[in-house]
Every structure is written in C-alpha cells, then in structure tokens.
Amino acid sequence: MNRWAMLLFLAVVVAAFLSPFASPHPDGLERVAEDLGFLKKGESPVLQFSPMPDYTVATINDERVSTALAGVTGTLITLAFVWGWMKLISKF
C-alpha cells in the first residue's frame, strides 16, 4: 500500500474516531476572550452558509456520529481541495 495512502487512512481514522472525543472546552483564544469579556463580539458570524457549522451535521442527532461524519467529510474535502489546487499550480 502506498505510504501516503496509509497516512490518509490515518487521517480518516483520526477524524472518525478521535474527533468525537475531543475536549469540548474553549480553545486558547476563546478562553482569553471569555476572561477579558470580548467573546460576545465574536458570536455573530457575518455569513451563515456553512453546511456543517461547528463540525456537526444537522440531520444527525447523535453528537459523536455527527462530529465523526463532519470530520471525515472535511478531511476528504481538504484532500480534494489541495490536490486540485496543487495540480493547477503545477500545470499553469
């Protein structure tokens, strides 16, 4: 098996099986924003068109399954995006 295919497989495994168990706590910036009282400034996204906001799939109720599905989808979208972008760069 191609070595890069193995790393891709590992990425999908991480997205599917580790991301649902990620710490739900705020990240560093959110923590600081909360402590210093400016978190609320960032609570209204300008455009709400993201199909999977906060890494969840709306139609799936089980939180872990929803996150896993969003994670795997995002991993594959990222793969396709970079693949396509780099292909374009190398050709033109």
Partner: protein, 218 residues
Amino acid sequence: MHIPDGFLDAKTAVATSAASLAALKYSMTKVKEELGERDVPSLGVMAAFIFAAQMVNFPVMAGTSGHLLGAALAAILFGPYSASLILSAVLIVQCLFFQDGGITALGANILNMAVAATFVASCVYSAVKKLKFAGSEIAAVFLSAWISVLVGAFLTSVELALSDTVPLNAVIAPMMLVHAVIGIGEGIITCAAVGYVRRFLDGKSGACVNSDAGGGVN
C-alpha cells in the same frame, strides 16, 4: 486560535487579507518552481491529516483546550512555501464548510497560522538543526512547533489590539501564556508526526522534501 467574525475591524481585516494574498501569491510561484506533479498527492494527504488532527482538541489547564496547528509539521516536511498553501487550504475549508474562523477574519487567520507560523517554524527548525548538538534534530522540531504557536498567538493579539477589541497590554500576556502551554502539545505531536512520516519516507519518496527548509531525510 481561529479568529471569528466581529473581533477585527475593517482596516485590520483588509490589511491582513492583502498581506496574506501577497504572501500566498509568492508561495504559489515558489511551489510551482519546486514541485513536480508527483508531489501533488502527498501535499493533499498532508493537508487532510492536518485538518483531521486540528479537530482533536486536547485539554490544557482548567477548562481550556488546544489543538494541533500543523504549521511546523508541514513546514519541516515540505518547506515553508508548500506549507503555507497547505495551511491556507485547511483554514479556507474550516471557514467555508464548518464556520470555524470568520469569513472576514480569514485573511488574518491565514496570515497568522498559514504564513507567519510556517515561515518562522521553518527558520527556527533550520537554525536549531544547524547547531548540531546531540538531539538537535528533535529539539529543532519541538522548538519550531512550540514557537510557531506563539507566533500565531502574538499576531492574533496584535490584530485584536489594532482593532480596538481589547488593549494589547491586557491581551498579550494571557494569550502568550495559554499558547505557551498549547505549544507543548504542538511540539509533542509534531515530533511524533515528523518521526512517523520520515520513517516511511526513508524507503521510497513521492514527497517533495525541501532543502531550503532544512527538511530532508537526515
């Protein structure tokens, strides 16, 4: 440390977007010179791996989490130019599809995490590696990862202050402190991931291993 909409004012958003665009344009010309078509899949996989790893928040301190940034990981393995494009792609996907990082802050997020963090990581990695002491390789990887997170946190703080969201003297210390802790996790994961990828690259290579970045198989 993805900045959401609402944290940055218009001038900061425009200035950071312009800087990011210029940097990415330059990176694209460099990547075009360096890359062959056979490197395309490996860059895609690296980006996919970083996206997945960024979803896994690990706990740091009480009630706070952090996750891998991946800027140093990509910069060490592929050089700063490819790394900046990989990280930008991850940030664009997160912003558009998952509402992680505001669309108006995308330029700033790219500047902080995809441009500055990858370039500084590359420089730190090369500089420490050149010292050639026992364990300099792993020290170079760890330090470059740790510092890359601090660079992002520093720029984020400056942008928040320029936007009058919060005074610099209030935000800088807590931002650097929390990210100094998150950076330890970044360092550990980056060392493990670089070791893993290097081990399988030792055999056959479909990867672009950039000598400018001091990358390469030992």
